[in-house]
């Protein structure tokens, strides 16, 4: 019969219309500024830099190796290396970024900087309400604006942050063990040197200079 298909379709629409009064999961609309859907745990918007401890400048993990700058597809990162050095999380003196800018009007949130970073220094933020009236300066973030604490990282990506912390702790332990071993070896070597020196009657003689 002509019109049967239309009636059948209309019934389907009516079912949906009535269903929205009965079933809770049919009400999918979220009134955005007042109501919010919680962001997914590994959601990504724009990158930020992580620092450990209370002082953002002292605790910055970035060592200005410029790998992210090189790998960034739209080239939105700009880094200048420092002239002096500061200790990193294992205490080794490292250079730090004297300037680290990300132009988030160019950034396309691809996460490649995060993947290539060998120092776990740059991570993705979930903050998306970044509208600004200043379209040039307001979207060019400098080091201070990009630096966020490790606690903040834990609050937005808890699982990932725990993994990163475990990895860094392991690295630190290995570095400490290595330093200890190196110190022990140096001490041993110094002792051996001293012993060799004491044993040799003439330090300047070629036969005794074997140590």
């Amino acid at each position: 019969m002509l019109g049967e298909g239309i009636v059948k379709g209309m019934l389907e629409t009516a079912k949906n219309f009535a269903g929205s009064f009965v079933s809770e999961d049919r009400l999918t609309t979220v009134e955005y500024p007042e109501q919010r859907i919680p962001t997914a745990e590994n959601a990504r918007v724009f990158p930020f830099l992580i620092y450990d401890g209370p002082d953002w400048h002292a605790g910055l993990r970035c060592v200005a190796c410029q790998i992210c700058e090189k790998e960034c597809p739209p080239k939105c990162i700009y880094i200048e290396k420092s002239k002096d050095k500061k200790p990193d999380f294992v205490g080794k003196p490292q250079i730090y970024p004297a300037r680290f800018d990300i132009d988030i009007s160019v950034c396309m949130s691809c996460q490649i900087c995060v993947e290539v970073c060998p120092f776990e220094a740059i991570k993705m933020d979930t903050e998306f309400e970044l509208a600004t009236g200043d379209r040039f300066g307001g979207l060019l973030l400098d080091c201070r604006e990009l630096a966020k604490s490790n606690e903040y990282y834990h609050s937005i990506h808890p699982t990932e942050a725990a993994e990163v912390d475990a990895r860094l702790a392991e690295e630190k332990k290995a570095a400490e063990a290595k330093a200890k071993a190196a110190a022990a070896a140096a001490a041993q070597k110094a002792a051996a040197d001293a012993a060799a020196k004491a044993a040799a009657p003439k330090p300047g003689a070629p036969a005794a200079g074997g140590s």
């Binding site: 239309i6 059948k8 629409t13 949906n16 997914a40 959601a43 790998e71 396309m108 993947e115």
Partner: protein, 390 residues
């Protein structure tokens, strides 16, 4: 037609004489549909010559969304092109990722672990379902069914995009696949959530079909309109649901057996007439087959690594050579052709976009039909301008 006349035709951009002779007296009316016409899915122009309501000739004009994708890719590392492929066909970023990763894996001779292959199949089939659902929604929108079918399609698409977001971090620009595997592993919670969504999909397709398939208005507008003959379809290099709606049995998942598609049981739906209704029906049936593949893949997914152990992220330099990787994307055959000279960047990078090549027969399908049908025929091709113009 005299030589002089042909020359002016050429200089005006028409590449062939009018195929349908105008009837009776009077002048032809030239209409520029687009680039801001709401039915053009973006910025696309059709210069149409009309004899009354009848289309006498049609010239597609594209390039408004050209972003220099291929040339940019020659200047950046292999990995850096991956996020750009998301932006080709922004409805199906995961299948774009897969096609590019496949081409590079062929070039570099990398193996993909079994779990990563399963993840890729799951994501590609989810992508296919949401693409076909929204394509049908847009087609109906253009037919004048304002909102309802599109809203139903987007309700389902929303669930699938939520899955994408919780896995890849982004709803549309997923940037998920890597050469030799995938970026992050699936959690068991994600698999459970996907199983729940997939279990709800057959009910959605049933509802969609009850709403549309038997609808007399849809039948009257679609049946016998925009017919594409199988021989023309093959000669023009058409692929995907459009080719199969014309009755040509050609599905790369069956032909190439790329990935692990030979492990799954599924059928290839074929059309008979090659009209808009067949294209609609083929897409609906493909959604059902995709649900079948998803059920099998979610059941059999093995444990194991998701990345090739030899794969490296930085300093990637494949040996000199060339490779063409192609997959059955929701819109048709999506291929990436790469030439390597041993450097960190591709020497040549070429995309074979299904949307652009499926558009080449637009004039042949539209001739002799009314202006209102042009919108429908165009909608049934299923294009995304990001991929047409690149």
């Amino acid at each position: 037609m005299s030589v002089a006349e042909t020359r002016t035709e050429r200089s005006a951009g028409w590449n062939r004489p009018p195929a349908v002779e105008p009837e009776g007296e009077g002048e032809l009316l030239e209409v520029a549909m687009g680039p801001h016409h709401p039915s053009t899915h973006g910025v696309f122009r059709m210069d149409v010559s009309l004899d009354g309501e009848r289309v006498v000739r049609l010239k597609p004009v594209f390039g408004y969304l050209h972003r220099n994708h291929e040339k940019i890719a020659e200047g950046v590392a292999y990995l850096a092109s991956m996020p750009y492929t998301d932006r080709l066909d922004y409805f199906c970023s995961l299948t774009n990722n897969w096609a590019y990763a496949l081409a590079v894996e062929k070039l570099a001779g990398q193996e993909v672990p079994a779990r990563a292959e399963y993840i890729r199949v799951i994501l590609a089939e989810l992508t296919r379902i949401q693409n076909h659902a929204s394509t049908i929604g847009f087609l109906l929108q253009e037919m004048g069914a304002s909102g309802t079918p599109l809203m139903y399609a987007f309700r389902e698409r929303e669930k699938i995009l939520d899955l994408f977001e919780s896995l890849t971090g982004s709803r549309m620009m997923c940037n998920y696949m890597r050469f030799g595997g995938c970026r992050v592993d699936l959690s068991s919670a994600w698999i459970e959530a996907t199983k729940k969504v997939v279990a709800g999909l057959p009910a959605f397709v049933d509802e969609f079909e009850a709403l549309l398939t038997g609808n007399e208005i849809l039948m009257a507008r679609c049946q016998g309109v925009g017919v594409l003959k199988p021989d023309l379809a093959v000669n023009a290099g058409i692929s995907g649901p459009m080719l199969r709606a014309s009755g040509v049995n050609y599905d790369l998942r069956k032909v190439d057996h790329y990935g692990i598609y030979d492990r799954f049981q599924f059928r290839v739906p074929l059309g008979d007439h090659g009209d808009i209704y067949d294209r609609y029906m083929v897409r609906v049936l493909e959604m059902r087959e995709s649900i079948g593949i998803l059920n099998q893949a979610l059941q059999d997914i093995p444990l194991g690594p998701i990345m090739d152990a030899k794969a490296k992220l930085r300093g990637f330099r494949p040996k000199p050579g060339e490779a063409y990787g192609r997959i059955e994307a929701p819109k048709g055959e999506l291929g990436f052709y790469l030439i390597s000279d041993g450097g960190p960047n591709p020497y040549r990078y070429r995309v074979r976009p299904p949307s652009l090549i499926n558009l080449t027969v637009l004039e042949d399908m539209c001739l002799g039909h009314n202006v209102a049908d042009v919108v429908l025929i165009f909608g049934s091709v299923d294009i995304v301008l990001g991929e047409v113009d690149r």
